[in-house]
Assembly symmetry: C2
Homo-oligomer: 277 residues x 2
């Protein structure tokens, strides 16, 4: 791992780190914020949305003040493998390919070679991080935005012993049936739609996966609310499964980082309360 | 004035507004954050540094949470006139020309036609804003970063009856003698260096200008500390003039928005306390 940049901010350290990934078979870049102190720190994973890299939330998410105050580390992975050798969609297509990995392990060529973002975030990156930095593997939470909200819920539902807290900003709740994500699922996983269910929060809950509780904030002025995001599907699945969902419809808020940053402190408090030593 | 974008954030409204300026003779864009409520709100002007537009601090400055909490409006003007018809330096020169107006009224051709940023920020923009939005003209503060810290101090020193509070992040304290700003002063103001003093904080103080108090944060890991910024010059001028300067050298901090955002809450609190009704 090579530190690309390190900047002091809010009394902590904002790092950007690059490394060669054996999982995605390319160089990967991620952001790591370490609060002041010696650690080991609880760590919250932030998964970003379509088109984003590690940098967007690092610059615009406004997580450092509250993470520093509560002593929480924040890791922000990239959203896909990157580079000229990585299979991609057309440059104007932002719903699939680079910047749109969907936190899935692809099973179909040519994507199977590199688009292994689930294994990258669940296995390779934690192993590297826990070996190198003072982070507590038994105190992990996960959250994210939009495609990354989907990713956070999927990772938490599939690994409830790993993640002790989960939340999401405007998540894609059922990507296997949403118009803007169905194509990615088909490209990465093939045409057998039954295989898509294990990468879909609502389907995972319907099929028996459970987490204790879940915080979701959703702007009611979000342009993607009714076709891409559909929080009502998540609400029904959680109600049927007796999952304690706190779904807050936030009046007037859209899908942007102006929305994310507004509720970032409450989300980090949510995680910190559940990751207390 | 035309609203280019309006987004709800931290319970307030983040606006981006464009208008034709008679002062700079081009279209100008600025950001305006309005906290929740009816107003009239105290207003704090944020002047940005070299290379920046209105957008950098709007995206990375993290001012909305605390401005919303304290009920303060924030205005972020651009740093120069803009456009193909505006005289400029070479594209790789970021210390002069577009993005580097230095909040000066230029007196020499060809810059005199458009580089009237002092008059734009002091006269034209306030007139437009106070006519259109619920802002309190008798409760104005001003702050800024680097070139904008210079600008904030110059505007406050020249107009102590207008601005009731002033602060700066890593300001250029004596631009008329700093290597990276001398050229801009020469281009905008001509070779008579005596005319430069009225646009230079330290010189203005030496020549009798006064403000009640001043808060300055300066990172000690700032790469520009010793040649461009030189807070010791400001410290001496303020001491000699009995201006109450709070100069805080912040260990480990650099010149970036990671530094600015770290101390943004304390600066906005500084202003709000002095702008209370």
């Amino acid at each position: 791992m090579k530190i690309i940049s390190e900047v002091k901010s809010h009394d902590g350290r904002q790092l950007v780190i690059r490394h060669a990934s054996s999982t995605t078979r390319c160089k990967m870049t991620f952001a790591l914020f370490l609060p002041p102190g010696e650690g080991p720190f609880p760590v919250v994973w932030y998964l970003s949305g379509l088109t984003c890299s590690h940098a967007n939330v690092m610059e615009k998410g406004e997580y450092r003040r509250i993470a520093s105050e509560l002593g929480v580390a924040i890791v922000c992975p990239d959203t896909s493998p990157r580079g000229n050798t990585i299979p991609d969609s057309t440059p104007d297509d932002w719903q699939f390919g680079q910047g749109a990995g969907f936190y899935i392990d692809a099973t179909t060529p040519p994507y199977v070679q590199n688009y292994q973002m689930y294994s990258y975030v669940m296995k390779e990156l934690p192993e590297l991080l826990f070996a190198a930095y003072p982070l507590a593997p038994n105190r992990q939470g996960i959250f994210g935005h939009s495609m990354g909200g989907h990713g956070a819920m999927v990772l938490a539902l599939r690994n409830p012993g790993v993640f002790k807290s989960c939340s999401a900003f405007a998540p894609i709740t059922q990507p296997s049936t949403a118009a803007w994500s169905q194509r990615a699922f088909r490209e990465y996983l093939g045409s057998d739609e039954s295989s898509w269910r294990e990468w879909d929060s609502v389907c995972l809950i319907e099929d028996g996966a459970r987490i204790d509780s879940l915080l979701v904030d959703q702007g009611d002025a979000d342009a993607f609310l009714n076709d891409g995001l559909r929080p009502q599907l998540l609400a029904k699945a959680c109600a049927d499964a007796h999952i304690n969902l706190t779904l807050r419809m936030q009046p007037g808020y859209d899908h942007s980082y102006y929305f994310i940053s507004s509720f970032m402190p409450e989300h980090i408090r949510w995680h910190a309360a559940r990751l207390a030593a």
